[in-house]
Symmetry: D3
Subunit: 293 residues, 6 copies
């Protein structure tokens, strides 16, 4: 193979295969164009007019979603060309150009809103993640997202979290076992729940269990869990939990994590800090399309 | 027809036809279940166990999205039954029960996250809208959303805005003409842009034009626009613009609208206040599923 | 932007974005090819044979649907090339070449019927529209189509009407309000129906109401309707209705419009004449594919 | 099996399995409802109002398409109930009730146009077929349709032809061999074309060949074709062709068949008469929905 | 037309139009990539590494499915290039290179399994067919497959049978009539069943009937069936059946056909031998991807 | 929750949610019905005839796929009722009734082949798995399948393996890391490959690595892999490998596993034995539909 010798560049923010998200862009375009297309542009813009436009950040932030944004233009008109200035995972200053597109003015104006909706939404998630990652700098804790994602956009949102420097928790109900309080109650305890899961799960499936007390933690560790979710524990209890689990299970803290509280949580030595709001409540980054050379 | 005599109940918050959004719920379920389904629940919960659970608001807010949330359970297992306590458009106190579901415990646990993701996202939009509507109470201004929506969820988000007491702007590029600065520049002025649009548009299509100055406003009014978008105008200029347009065109203010600034904008007498962040940046409402009688 | 200075060419007959109709062509191809493809062509035509063929009009008419017709060949085999001689909106004499295709003979023969079915159907609509437009020449009335379209082909049929020189009415139930007799009966009169619609509709949504009598017309005008649909009125009554509505609402006549009756209706001064049969009953234009250089 | 003894009722006009056409109804509903649904009905009709309505024929004709028409109501709201008065294949007088629906008034009004578009289109085809069948009564000739169908509706249109008393030709390119002039030219004659087809086709695939002259007919019969398509032959030549083919191949006449010319063509003794206009140009039957008990 | 003069090359193993099977490849890729893509490759392989790889046969066999296998790479990344060494219908020795691909190493590794699953499955069918065809060499009998195919892959499997030298029976329930024992019982005999079918079927639809005894065979021949399915008959009875049917109907033998028994069955002079296991139970051919130039 | 006290029944063979596979059944039905449906049944079977039929095993085997088989009938006609005698995971004797269906005879006959194709294919996999599981009885080794599945049917085939008593390996490329020889070569060794994967993978993602030699095994164990794939090792080497890995990593043996060789492999003490042929080459179980009470 060519290129084998070159240094390995981790590619957390490489775009996913279009096969995994292009349909979502197509749906969004259809949602905006309706049956009749862009009435305004069709009435005003000559069909043969060629334009150049820049996708710009109006506020500073971490970029994610350049690929689906550019796909919006290309799917509408394959003759639109583009150049990326700030790929996913880059930090943009306010006013920075993220990418440039050039092609039929009608296509550029008609796809504008769809492109911006992807780019703003995903960059908002990346920016919030980046800030939370920065808040725990110097600690071992990694920031992870959850399954509290926007319906239909999970793969793209998980990617945006990686572009922000975070890591991903489960992608869905089928790629790991996460035993929550309802499961524990139904199984009659932490240990029997873990046992049932171990018996049923494949050999490459890890098991994590949510524990509320140190006693439950001991039970989970004794039963051989791979990871423990320490939900809403007071800092001092969390510290003890992390201590007990050290070397025996991965520890994850969750509940009420914000940029303000994250450092103190990270100081307990926990391995992972998860925050659902990164994907369900991060405000969009303000991005715009500026037409003209 | 039966029932013809009864008083007319406006139904802004009636759920849309499932035909318009059920596919989005199906996609979200598939996104969460993957190929193998809910590993945890399948391992721990007996297949014939029947459970009852409540969808509850953990924080106070305006509810929207009950129908797609309940559809998540029903689409996974048609035998799940449900009862709605707080329909879309209701205000929930923290702790309030929104709806109850009863059926196979496996289906209830497997659909939980999908249901909550819809309910939390849409109720977040409704709550933000409600608060902005409250901020302009006593003024004529209506709060409206924009096309800055989450890809794939536009119809549901527009509905959530109505559930919050707001009104809807265009659903897409094809149901009205909205001439923006790029179009004005390409047409060579506000008036020629309006003329081109009038010539091309159907007789039931209204025309709105974005104006930045009072001169442009005069040009738009003279050209017979149906509505004007007054973007980012200082309050005093906005007041004059509203005055000039009175009785001649609908006026819409936009740009930097927050719960703090909305009242002052509304006090200018403007007809509509639009805010893109209602649909792209409103934080989700905290909702949860509580299992057990 | 380049090209800004050139004169504006109205583009009523520009093809819609393929995103809006390409799936319909794909479905039609699949419908014709079934599981086993073109048995006859596969048996008889060598796979490497290259052919050239012309899409020709066997009867004179107005052309519409060239883009989906050519897409049929291209979707089957991307190597098929084409050249358009008579774009949508052109008038073809009997025998005229509409477009030329060149590529693998198997693809050209296998896609022939699908291409012709689109081209003949849409050109039939365009031709009927053109003739009705010609019948009202010299009058202010524009010819418009309705929602009485062929299931699955609305966007293309609306486009064909524009290619014939007509204009489009509503594209669907969601882009304007059209109050019909059933709605009037349910609301308890024309005025309350208009009021309910005004209260519920967005600010860019126009309202049209169907009236059967001059009294109803007066009620509609007083309630501030944007347009009135004057259905099946005798010519003399229609003339009075147009007179009363002048300057107050757009007037639309419908009911039994044919090439023979249209001129008399137009002579009343009505703004619009609508005819459902343009889209549901116009005979196809006779088009064919002629193979050979 | 129960019911085995009862007389066999041919069921040419039984509805096809919904699996084969329900998606087309769903698409048509989505096409009409757009993103926002029925603005007019939502604004005016209370959500809990129940209505009854009748699908009526405004002109006399042969009915086809009752199943997809009723499915439009049911797919929008499963609580709509219906009763069929005139099933597919029945003759309706002007004013006759075809079916009755009862359910939420909103659903009935919102699905009305979709239902009527299917019913009118398909009944138009059935009516035209019925009339052409009547024109050849007393002769052996059966009336058959072609592949000149409306894109996306082939299965339903083929069914409508059967409801009109006609028979179906090929459903697509893959269920029989039909050698046309282009194929003959490419193969270097009628006989080699038939031979190639015979060699490639499965044992249950019949072969038909288009012939223009009696010499070609002789060549086709000698090569053992199953059927011959006698296209645009003068009546006297057609008569001779039928005579020569008797007992050796099925004979089909095509080209310029109308209700006026069909009897003379049938009098030649030909087995089949095909007419493409039955599916591409038959005018819709005028059908309407009448609301109210 | 160019190329008209060249000798006709039968193309039984030409790939079908991608329109007919590409969606199946896309589904298979999505099935393997899930939401997060190829975790292993993304972690280890640099995004800009270019690789070359060969699809090789690890065992000797007849090749089928090269087109869908190569499409797996191309659909994942359009920049992957390929060259075919052994097209469908070729015989490969163990170790032979079937095709070569060159492009981004990530795409090649991520699509590897999908490509191999198509190629191995379809080549397995082709190989089994080839061997059965060889077993009857010298006899008139052709080997045909049945409708006992793998759900979702029928068109491709039918094509693989042709690549193996076999022929295809019905593609589905709609392209010919095949009367089985249940139908005969319901109709009250072989003759009435054939009569009902003849009355209902189109003129290009052939009729085959399953018979268990020589008496039923006589009844079928007298009723004018096109073909007879002689199921599980002892060899001597089969020989008599073939004799009686000679010149009157096509004969097909089925039931327990293996490479060992086929020659004796063929020796009866039967026209066709059908074997369901070719498509439902043929073992996959062992194929692999070898990376590196 | 009701039923909480009852003993936990492991449900490895419970049917997956229909949401995950129903579309595959729908596609298979459409594949068989084509455009025109079941010509034979429509011609011969009266539409109102009600029938009862049994799905029977013609050979002994382990059953899987009852749910999709029954769904074929139900999706074609919702009025078909069914009763399951032998659920997935049961052993059937030759002649045993697996399930009974009752409903319109036309639906039962038209869906027959689709139902049997699912049931035969999946039961074939379950039967082969059961036999391989039996071959290693008494050893700790579990039988697992691979990603060598039939395109489009992975979830159902993985379920069939569980019904046979086996366990599942990865469902796709995205639910665990499996480092193969190509990855090792690209990373420059086993250890760096594991390190890269550890750095990139989420905390619930396990890592398995393929090793060919004991040296590579040592390197993998030192790098902390979760599992090792011991591919095609001679028995004696395999035994040593299992010994070294004990307590440090899960061991999986693969390569040339058959019912004959499995016991010897299992005797090495390996944890898992994987066999791709279970899903790509297991012969279908012979199943049939018997009509009549």
């Amino acid at each position: 193979m060519a290129g084998e010798g070159r240094p390995h560049v981790p590619s957390l923010w490489q775009p996913l295969w279009p096969l995994l998200w292009e349909e979502a862009v197509r749906r969004a375009l259809a949602e905006d164009l309706g049956r009749a297309g862009d009435l305004t542009t069709d009435a005003i813009v000559p069909p043969d007019l060629v334009a150049e436009a820049r996708l710009v950040a109006r506020a500073a932030g971490r970029i994610a979603g350049v690929a689906p944004a550019l796909a919006a233009f290309r799917l509408l008109d394959p003759s639109v060309e583009s150049e990326v200035a700030l790929p996913d995972g880059s930090d943009a200053d306010a006013g920075a150009t993220i990418a440039t597109v050039r092609g039929p003015a009608r296509a550029i104006l008609a796809a504008e809103r769809t492109a911006l909706n992807f780019l703003g939404h995903l960059s908002g998630i990346a920016t919030a993640t980046r800030d939370l990652v920065a808040a725990v700098a110097g600690h071992r804790a990694r920031i992870v997202c959850t399954r509290k994602t926007t319906p239909g956009l999970r793969a793209l949102e998980k990617h945006a979290v990686r572009a922000g420097g975070g890591a991903n928790h489960r992608f869905g109900l089928d790629d790991a076992v996460l035993i929550k309080d309802n499961h524990v109650a139904l199984a009659g305890g932490v240990a029997p729940a873990i046992e049932r899961a171990r018996a049923a799960a494949g050999h490459l499936v890890k098991i994590e269990v949510e524990v509320d007390t140190l006693d439950q933690l001991d039970e989970a560790l004794a039963a051989g869990t791979d990871a423990v979710l320490l939900d809403n524990m007071p800092l001092e209890v969390l510290r003890q939990a992390v201590e007990r689990a050290r070397g025996r299970a991965i520890t994850e803290a969750s509940g009420g994590i914000t940029a303000e509280t994250a450092a103190a949580v990270a100081a307990t030595g926990v391995d992972l800090i998860s925050a659902g709001w990164l994907t369900h409540s991060a405000p969009a980054l303000d991005v715009a399309l500026e037409v003209g050379g």
